[in-house]
Symmetry: C2
Amino acid sequence: MMKPAVVLLSGGLDSATVLALAREQGFACHCLSLDYGQRHGAELHAAARVAAALGAAAHRVLKLDLGQLGGSALTDSSIAVPTAGVQPGIPVTYVPARNTIMLALALAWAEVLGAGDIFVGVNAVDYSGYPDCRPEFIRAFEVLANLATKAAVEGRPLKVHAPLIDMSKAQIIVQGARLGVDYGLTVSCYQADAEGSACGVCDSCRLRSQGFAAASLPDVTRYQVNVI
Amino acid sequence: MMKPAVVLLSGGLDSATVLALAREQGFACHCLSLDYGQRHGAELHAAARVAAALGAAAHRVLKLDLGQLGGSALTDSSIAVPTAGVQPGIPVTYVPARNTIMLALALAWAEVLGAGDIFVGVNAVDYSGYPDCRPEFIRAFEVLANLATKAAVEGRPLKVHAPLIDMSKAQIIVQGARLGVDYGLTVSCYQADAEGSACGVCDSCRLRSQGFAAASLPDVTRYQVNVI
């Protein structure tokens, strides 16, 4: 029987690649997405398509309205998404404690499933200045997880896999292409429209499009007609 | 101006005492409760009453359906709440990763508020065998929090206060009584009825009632008529 793993799946390019990598390692992938009040539902639809296309064992979407706490352009419609290019420092699209929350939810499901493996698509290279995408953050979460759970108390360790952490966007795309990931199913844009078409000018679109170019692969992203 | 703090407030006896202690230390207390699909809403109503009675600066209830992930008698109505007395080991009322999730949400709000202090009512003495109530768990979360956030990156540390961690239930009650906490407003029972009346026989009721007895204080808990 395949060992279960929990894979955090956002619907974007990175987590789709992580799912393909986890499947390649032989895990039965239980994909978890968070509906946290992001501006559009397109990325959650993308997550469902990606989970199906890559043979996930299960896919759950947990709803949690982080917009109630405010503070991010991704959950607060009164804060504009920047489109002028990637700037130094932590951008307003940073969602407070998002990866801590996502990993905590993954930990809960892992515990219920009896899974000893969590996969997350954080990346420290093209990480856009988010503090919770750094290797030391992931290691600290793994330490916490191994103190937090019934499994840990009973001596079954939990491993947090962040296979993209040292890869460039181009390297991630090359890995996914090797594993047959259809990036046309994924949505990375911070302000995609209802159909999942991308704006082309937010930080996430810029990093993604530069990644395809650097990988010398065609950019399969669907862009909104009015911005391109 | 009073410094803001986030206080995790469940509606039970412990977190009400923590709120009183945080207020005594001069914090403007932003209370956070989680509606995680627990069997009854009585404890959330209790949390609102306690927040108002103890002068909280704000109270938010975040909804997150942990029942979707299963695995606990507190969120899965097909698992019975044990009533035969406290047993060794981790009970079925354990909610997977609950304190990790609650602290992650508190961290998100702390970051939005610019708060450097989180208060949580975990307790390692009468802790009912939950792994995420131990001091080493709290310390590991504090390490994680100081790597996870924009504030940490900018050099403003975050402190996780667990003032009850070494107290017996009786000591907690004595502290709360000193600070004027009305424990009649609180609900600890795992299977309280809609009015918040307690069953008297679940682990949480037993620990609470023993606490009042050991503190030589009257047990102000309202019990269900049919079980007492």
